[in-house]
Symmetry: C2
Subunit: 431 residues, 2 copies
């Protein structure tokens, strides 16, 4: 029987379908890895070994349901599961049992996935970190808010995981932990059953070890036909965009982007420096206004009944900001964001993808703070698909990533470009 953790998800699913690998064996391998590493990594908020194995055995006892049949996945604890508690990273909901799976979880299960357990999220996917450490150095943050999902995938505990992103909550932790993180175009993956932060920004994200695995996972949860990825025959046109926050990038981040651009150009990509259109200048601010205005209102159920159980930081930063915002400010941000989207869509169309940083640099030291979203908030607000993939290591030995961004709804093109970039940079980014 092959080692399931060494296989692509597609190959593992094929082995399972052929009866050469069992879902139980795959789940066991993941659970063993988790047992060995969880005391250091702390990726899981909820895990029931027996229940996970029972679910795997149930898949072994039936005909394949879909492309994820028997594949273990992790679900960020911001996302409802009918058979596991869902705490949203807050003591208010500790032990809460949702009545239903989130739509994305049901879609994954309908495709045959085995939900192993729930991974750590920051409090309501905001600032306050959970227990998770970076698997490459536990003194460093894994990033957030999808901390546990990124750490679990990067540490080889599970091949696929759900995250979410309202500012940078999928891309940043994936980059910090050294896995592939993908935030689809806004409006693609249904959000039913995911704790809402901001209706106009919240997006389901996914994580995997490779771009190929992302492609399969994405097709499965969108319930669309999966087309096995073919390496693009021509090299992509990439727009190298340092973005408005280049000053805030760390030396190792800058070096990673420049080195990747050079290597990709050397491999034949057309790499041209490009600047965001002027309509995007206030993009971060719009993201923050939308997030705070909607966030205050979405947090009202907790504010009304459980205010004392909210972290001081959530109350003093996001909620306080939300209280100061007028309806006029919210509307101006809606309009500004829309104008930015239209201009950026035009701009990005000149390229197959934008090449930019997923985070300022390596994962910062310390677990209290999950790092800065300055390299993410704008792209989220622009509704564009974003993908981060590994691009080497920092001098401290921590993962560094590069981010690819394409125009909204050009997700397939983005994934094709990412496949090419991954191939040229080498898996792990260190060819």
């Amino acid at each position: 029987m092959p080692d399931p953790l060494s296989l692509s998800v597609r190959d593992a699913a094929r082995e399972i379908a052929a009866g050469r690998l069992s879902a139980e064996a795959f789940a066991t391998a993941c659970l063993d890895r988790i047992a060995a590493r969880e005391p250091i990594v702390g990726a899981w908020h909820y895990l029931d070994r027996d229940a996970a194995l029972a679910a795997a055995r149930a898949r072994d006892a039936e005909a394949p349901r879909g492309p994820l049949h028997g594949i273990p996945i992790a679900v960020k604890d911001l996302i409802d599961t009918a058979d596991m508690p869902t705490g949203y990273g807050s003591p208010i909901y500790e032990g809460h049992r949702p009545a239903a799976d989130a739509a994305c979880v049901a879609l994954a299960r309908a495709a045959g996935a085995v939900v192993l357990g729930k991974t750590v999220t920051t409090e309501f996917a905001c600032f306050t970190a959970g227990k998770t450490a970076n698997p490459h150095n536990p003194a460093h943050t894994p990033g957030g808010s999808s901390s546990g999902s990124a750490a679990a995938v990067a540490d080889g505990m599970v091949p696929l995981a759900f995250g979410s992103q309202t500012a940078g909550s999928t891309i940043r932790p994936a980059a910090y932990c050294g896995c592939v993180g993908y935030k689809p175009s806004f409006g693609m993956v249904p959000r039913a059953g995911v704790k809402a932060l901001a209706d106009s920004l919240d997006t389901i994200g996914i994580m995997a070890r490779t771009v190929g695995d992302i492609m399969l996972f994405h097709a499965a949860i969108m319930a669309i036909p999966y087309v096995a990825p073919a390496m693009p025959e021509t090299a992509p046109r990439l727009g190298l965009c340092r973005g408005p926050h280049w000053e805030e990038a760390e030396p190792e981040g800058r070096a990673a982007l420049d080195s990747a651009a050079e290597r990709l150009a050397g491999a034949g990509a057309v790499v041209r420096e490009t600047r965001l259109p002027p309509e995007c200048a206030a993009g971060d601010k719009h993201q923050q206004v939308l997030g705070s205005f909607e966030g205050l209102r979405n947090h009202m159920p907790e504010l009304y009944r459980h205010e004392a159980l909210l972290s001081a930081r959530l109350r003093d930063e996001k909620i306080a900001r939300g209280r100061q915002l007028t309806l006029a400010a919210f509307r101006a941000a809606c309009r500004g964001a829309e104008a930015a989207r239209a201009a950026a869509q035009q701009w990005v169309s000149e390229f197959d993808a934008i090449l930019t940083l997923p985070a300022p640099g390596q994962a910062p030291r310390g677990l209290a703070d999950t790092g800065s979203a300055v390299f993410n908030a704008l792209w989220t607000q622009l509704y564009m698909p974003c993908l981060t993939l590994p691009a080497g290591r920092s001098p401290d030995g921590l993962p560094l990533g590069v981010q690819l961004v394409a125009r909204r709804h050009a997700d397939e093109r983005l994934l094709q470009v990412a496949l090419w970039v991954e191939d040229r940079l080498g898996q792990g980014g260190s060819s």
Copy 2:
């Protein structure tokens, strides 16, 4: 003590704040009306008289929290309540107890509202009707999906109610029952805790007996300052739009619109016939594609675990349609809908509001079908604020309405125009 059901919400709140009226007396008056009429109307899915009175007494025992202090409201049973079961109109969720209030419910409660109970919704706000009858003639539908909310407000059981709209689920039942229904601009009222049908369409709606009450309710649930309405000094410019479905309008509906246009022009409004821009021609189709593509995926939790408990109509119509749609069709609808929004926004800006039908005519006979959304789906998809208000009676004595629509985010202007129109048509539409 004044009769609370004869007061505007603003005046009732003022009486309560001044100690001349108690929240308990207001709730009692509503509960008595419900006790007398519920056997005929069937508006309520859940109602606990003692709990409602206890909530009212708790408001009486404290200082006013906000503009709705002590005001009874109804909540469509598609919307979560932490202290009342929430069944989404489906046997799958009968008796389900959500862990939290929906954001809009918490916002209303934070403003002091007393939630009396849960009103009947069709199955998942789709086709299959509940038990509610039209309060003006119980042989006729109240419309749907917000059937109970519209019937309860129109019948004087409660002054305010929450609904929702994905195609026509607020405007149509309000028109059929003869109350004021308002669907704010898309993206205004947070949807957290409302059973999702389609992320790109779902909108919280509200119902009341008058435009003034709508204004107060809306400000309270948006947590924005309430400005007491002043009658506009100048008459509005109205675009009379018969829309692409005029052929499907019933004679009494056509007569109501023409008569309203005439009376408003006679009162000084500039009324000019206008046609939708060509970009809106496929607007209904886009709405249906978005609703079906997203709907299939949002229903996956029920399909996966409880398929046999879904109605045949939901499975055979909406879900079957969703299964036939490709990702390319979904994206084409996203793009088409966006283009229609941009063109319509431009077009509507020539007017203070569009004047059109809220439904083909009077409420159809029979309770199995809640009527047609052909006069609603386009406006929902255009993200524009819509308001229906009474405009007289049909020869059968059933209410007829007219609908006002304004450009997205011009909600205050729409409400001001509606105040003027209501004044000129007379409350109840029969001046």
